[in-house]
């Protein structure tokens, strides 16, 4: 199954807002609504997979496993959407070009199907990404 190059934008969604505001960031629900990349059908065809498959999203900033879902906001081939959160922020460029504000919209990534893997829950992701590498 081939990896594809795609532009990612990120932002808020209602289901994610409900979990965040309800204090559920440590519950599996948070992963289910935020560890997601929404892709266009055309991009699923390019990858040769179907919605629901786990994918690895990566670029020079890092890599993260999320679930791929069919976008409800299409068609937008070549553009993907990730709900804002710790999963998306693994691949968001930290440079702000002296504006204080990173470029959360429009990041180029590679997306590769990894059907044997599953997205981590929030606490596990934070531990693996940030706490385990500490000396």
């Amino acid at each position: 199954m081939p990896a594809i190059k795609i532009h990612v934008t990120s932002g808020a969604t209602v289901p994610q807002g409900v979990i965040i505001k309800g204090g559920g960031k440590k519950l599996p629900d948070y992963r289910n609504v935020a560890a997601v990349i929404y892709l266009d059908m055309a991009d699923f065809k390019r990858m040769g997979t179907f919605p629901g498959t786990a994918v690895e999203v990566r670029n020079e900033c890092g890599k993260v496993v999320v679930s791929s879902q069919l976008t409800p906001d299409g068609p937008h081939p070549g553009i993907a959407f990730m709900p804002r959160g710790p999963w998306a922020n693994v691949i968001i460029g930290p440079e702000t070009k002296c504006s204080g504000c990173p470029q959360y919209k429009d990041t180029v990534v590679e997306v590769e199907p990894v059907p044997e893997k599953a997205p981590l829950q929030m606490a596990d992701l934070m531990r693996q990404q940030y706490i385990d590498p500490l000396k």
Binding site: H7, T9, G11, A12, T13, V14, G17, V18, I19, I20, K21, G22, G23, G24, K25, K26, L27, D29, C61, G62, T71, P72, D73, G74, P75, H76, I79, F81, R84, G85, P86, N89, V90, I92, G93, P94, E95, T96, K97, C98, S99, G100, C101, P102, Q103, Y104, K105, D106, M122, A123, L125, M126, R127, Q129, Y130, I131, P133, L134
Partner: protein, 454 residues
């Protein structure tokens, strides 16, 4: 629901109804919420949207912090400690640090932010918040070219052309369209939606775009060009390009005509502008377009601010220090420099050696390099529920839900101050308000620094 005549708090059959509550979630700060309370617990919420309701009624299984938690090493498990110990430890961390960062503030009250500024000044730190990586570029654009704003009430009563550009209120500000802009009936727009035209400019066919009369599916990152094209068209200049932002010029011409023909137009923009490559330049171009249109008809422009008191941070910092965000007190007086004293940048460059985070979740919302540094330094996190940030903390301070568990004030997205009503008491173990424990922390720090209370 037992309805009441103008009464704000009514008790009947062991139930209490509190009306005119404010939803403390997003910048809409809807202040028409009613809550039914039984045994100091909110059981029903009226008028709020789905996200707003979750704010009052936590998810099943959600954990709530009610006691301070401490761990010396981030690889250990947390242990509960007393409030006195917690404030002592927090004071030590902040005083010992050379460059502490006091970050967040957008989801707490004006009163708490005021204490935060005092604390930052005392410890010679930097104060900044989510505002910087949300609408920071919008503030910069306003500093450069000015602002043609209005209140949401004016939009509701007058606007006949609503433009949402690079934002998706149906997902991020769910009642914005029904309460303030599009569907609501206004003084001069009795028939609400029928008297208003809705245009959405967004690269995705979002839930907002699905409701629009016109959806312009512009290419990612071409907003600046599109605004300048509209400005040229409105001035009557000839535009020779066939397409701008992937959209045929005829579509832009039509939009320019609609704008000129409107009797009152309102442009709302979101993070689509501030989070793409041209950042403040796109916003400045959008404000320029609004100013041009005001020569022909009446137009206003407004950023859709994210958190309920994100505008409050700008207000309080401006009135106390003269600057809207990213304020540094290392030399004892306030200094402001975007890129130098802003949270994401200072963390990425590892210039901060301790951090207090309150009412924000940078662990979830900052890019990985900045979060990495948060994991490396002593981190104090004040929150109500566990978040990615509290997962990285040494000290967790249980927060109080401002505007639900205590009275407070905030600024709505259009800069209108709003009083927040108390609905229930905070859970046992929590302080009466965030401003309260911050004030106590200020006193501990002052004592340790040997200063007199001012």
């Amino acid at each position: 629901m037992f309805i009441t005549e103008n009464a704000k708090i009514v008790e009947k059959d062991g139930k209490k109804l509190v009306t005119d509550c404010t939803c403390v979630f997003d910048g809409c700060a809807c202040d028409d919420i009613a809550c039914e309370v039984v045994n100091n617990e909110i059981v029903t919420v009226y008028n709020a949207c789905k996200v707003g309701t979750a704010n009052f009624l936590p998810c099943r299984g959600a954990e709530r912090f009610t006691t301070p938690l401490w761990r010396a090493s981030k690889k250990e498990a947390f242990k509960p400690i007393s409030w006195d110990e917690a404030l002592d430890k927090a004071a030590d961390i902040l005083i010992k640090a050379k460059h502490p960062m006091l970050f967040g503030w957008s989801e707490t009250s004006v009163e708490a932010i005021r204490e935060g500024v005092r604390l930052t000044e005392l410890v010679g730190g930097t104060i900044d918040g989510q505002v910087t990586h949300c609408h920071g570029p919008s503030v910069q654009a306003i500093q450069e070219v000015g602002y043609a704003g209005a209140t949401l009430g004016e939009v509701k009563n007058r606007a006949d052309l609503i433009i949402y550009w690079g934002c998706n209120p149906m997902n991020a500000h769910a009642r914005h369209m029904s309460r303030y802009s599009t569907y609501v009936s206004g003084f001069f727009r009795r028939h609400g939606r029928q008297e208003r035209k809705l245009v959405v400019v967004d690269p995705r066919h979002t839930d907002t775009a699905k409701l629009a009369d016109v959806h312009i599916q512009i290419e990612l990152g071409s907003d600046y060009e599109a605004f300048q094209t509209l400005r040229a068209l409105i001035r009557g200049a000839a535009v020779t390009k066939e397409k701008v932002g992937g959209i045929p010029i005829a579509v832009w011409k039509q939009l320019a005509e609609d704008m000129k023909a409107a009797s009152y137009g309102a442009i709302f923009f979101g993070l689509g502008l501030t989070h793409s490559a041209s950042k403040k330049n796109s916003v400045a171009a959008a404000i320029g377009l609004t100013q041009d249109l005001c020569n022909i008809t009446k137009f206003q422009i407004m950023p859709l601010r994210g958190h309920y008191n994100v505008a409050g941070l700008n207000q309080v910092l401006s009135w106390l220090t003269g600057y809207p965000y990213g304020v540094n007190f290392a030399r004892g007086f306030p200094r402001y420099n975007i890129g130098e004293f802003t949270g994401v940048d200072m963390l990425r460059r590892k210039e901060v050696d301790a951090m207090l985070n309150i009412a924000a979740d940078p662990g979830a919302h900052m890019p990985q390099k900045s979060v990495q540094h948060m994991a490396e330094i002593p981190l104090i996190a004040c929150d109500i529920h566990p978040t990615p940030t509290t997962e990285l903390a040494n000290l967790i301070i249980p927060g109080t839900h401002d505007g639900i568990e205590c009275e407070a004030s905030c600024y709505r997205m259009d800069g209108i101050p709003i009083h927040l009503r108390k609905i229930v008491d905070p859970p046992e173990g929590c302080k009466p308000s965030n401003a309260h424990w911050l004030q106590e922390l200020v006193q501990v720090v002052e004592k340790k620094l040997g200063e007199k209370h001012v």
